[in-house]
Symmetry: C4
Subunit: 219 residues, 4 copies
């Protein structure tokens, strides 16, 4: 096992903990994966294992067709979708899938989340879009994710009647996008439930997005 | 005490912890029971005891008429309902009862939860049905559970103006059903509160249910 | 200090922890008191102290006029209301006050919580009533509590535009009533937000209340 | 480093923990600052650092123009707004910024929170006002905060489509205002979602505010 895979296995335990900490998942739903830099491989959660039982060793390694390469357990049932994204989007280093409550609620109405918060302009650069309804079992989900997010600012897509997929340069960035997606899904839902929302002008959304992507955080 | 009962007593402590962890219960409400394999017995939570005070020793063993067979405390006030289910449904190995918030809210309107999420198709195979209003004190609740769930895909029933009962091959499976029931009750409630929901076609529900029951998790 | 007061001081630390655990209070809002058996005294939380800093020693003892009798800190600003209840209702051994979210929301509309859940019939024996609007600083709040709860089955009153007061034979019973009050306030709110509620017939409410008060729990 | 700055760095770790504890922030959003008594300086959270990684040493010191004076990390991206408040309002000793869910939801509709709870009259002395929409990057946010809160009883302002800023004599007082702001934002939102609210008469609001500011807590 290369050092890199070893480190990614450890990172994934901590990142799955973040899904729990911020309330994005229950029971065994939800999964995080990380591309192995420089190799046609990614590391992902095993299928149907409780968050309490996740260890670095329990994580599994797959090739970009989703075939198990290393590990004792079956990979996540969402592995094909992760694999498709890594094949189609070489800039993506991490993928997250959750059924987080408010984001999934928007998806059950097939409705994009409108950009009415500066924090949403920062992270998503506009609305969070809806992807198609797709069954598990082939590449339909992966294709829906890639078709929706390619050329879109948002790192998050609401797959219709299903849940959220997020992408990022790293698994940590994808987890951050999943956390922020649920946060804005919740706030915008609550806001709209008592009356109309005030939109943010597109030119202001653009300014906020540009600044956040280039200035925020530690250099 | 047989090994089997000893193990079930320990398992039940951990499973009641799961009810707390996923926010399904407050104070002393809610209970889990497990059938003793190969015997006409089940193990269940004692009545009115705080979750913090639950120990393997505090769990009680009842026969399938709900009579106390082993243990120092009175069995849960819901014991008769659990017992009726074990008598009528020999395939059931575990029963859970909660007043989890969103599921109970659907029950107070007497409304089934429509299947608009793929996760709901996976676990419940369609809508989560409503059972009759029934008073505690005889077999009415048990009969209502069994009449509603017999021949139904859903392992969960919303007993009208009351709360949720779930069944499973094991107590752990019944707890999982209770956790997923509240999760989808919450998501579908929130989704519908801002507009109409998009249904999932029955043929797609069938495909999802079939796949999840036969493929998901570790073999 | 009598043994009894020493024990009550310790109990009150644990009972305030329950207010936090079940999400009934933020910051320093909310307080629990306990009557000293056989004496015209009660023990109560000090004013404006964080829950993390509460110790048995920080609790204060007051007489039934609300005057500080023992302790280094000022008693809760709600002490006069607690004192009034102890003077007027000799059967009361504990009083709790919170601004728990859903119960307080009902109070801001001046609306009683209708009895549409069997758990509510069990604990409250019917609706949870609204008390009058009253300012702090004299006996108005105490009088409003006593006028509303005297001869009423409910151990909880929603003081208009303010929050919840609960009573019980012991401080623990009053805390339980506060926990259950918020739980049913939340569930009934959520239920009603998507459509009309199904009422429970009064004769069934009566049966449930009678059974729960006389049969539930350990003998 | 003066003793005073050392103490403030430690205090800020604990106060950021309070933002997490009371559910006001996710990921790295939200920040607390404290003026250094007697100096034209304040201590503030570094930008984009996780709450788990915050230590006294990671906090940074800025002058009142928002320039970094001491510390290894970049200051919060909201530093300019904090600095403007300290320059314009000499009585302010602490500033807090969050995107707490319910308060931010009110801001996305551009709607002030009406004073319908006694706890709100106590802490805010009336409604919680809305400030203007303002982009990050210059003094617009700071000016909007100061213009809204100057001469207003409320220590909290809902910046439109953005989130909450609170002020206080100390950083702890500003954190308390942020906690109470979210608490009343949530309760009033929930109350209004099922019907009209009962207002509190202005003369009663005045009495409550006066009493709470002068009597509550330990002397």
């Amino acid at each position: 096992m290369s050092i890199s895979v070893k480190q990614l296995r450890e990172d994934l335990v901590g990142l799955h903990d973040q899904l729990i900490r911020w309330g994005l998942v229950v029971w065994t739903a939800g999964n995080v994966s990380a591309r192995v830099p420089g190799e046609d491989l990614f590391v992902i959660k095993p299928s149907g294992v409780s968050y309490d039982d996740l260890t670095p060793e329990s994580m599994v390694v797959c090739d970009l067709d989703g075939n198990l390469v290393e590990g004792d357990l079956s990979p996540s049932s969402d592995t094909a979708a992760h694999a498709y994204v890594y094949r189609a989007m070489p800039e993506v280093g991490g993928v997250v899938h959750t059924h987080s409550t408010y984001a999934t609620a928007w998806s059950a109405r097939g409705e994009a989340i409108p950009c009415v918060l500066t924090a949403m302009a920062d992270e998503f650069g506009g609305e969070i879009p809806v992807g198609p309804f797709a069954l598990i079992g082939n590449d339909d989900i992966g294709q829906g994710i890639v078709a929706t997010l390619s050329g879109h600012r948002s790192p998050a897509v609401l797959m219709r009647n299903h849940g959220v997929f997020t992408i990022g340069k790293s698994a940590r960035a994808a987890v951050k996008a999943a956390v922020m997606c649920e946060d804005v899904a919740r706030t915008v839902h609550i806001a709209r439930s008592l009356g109309p929302l005030i939109p943010i002008e597109q030119s202001d959304v653009d300014k906020l997005y540009d600044r956040y992507q280039n200035v925020y955080g530690q250099r």
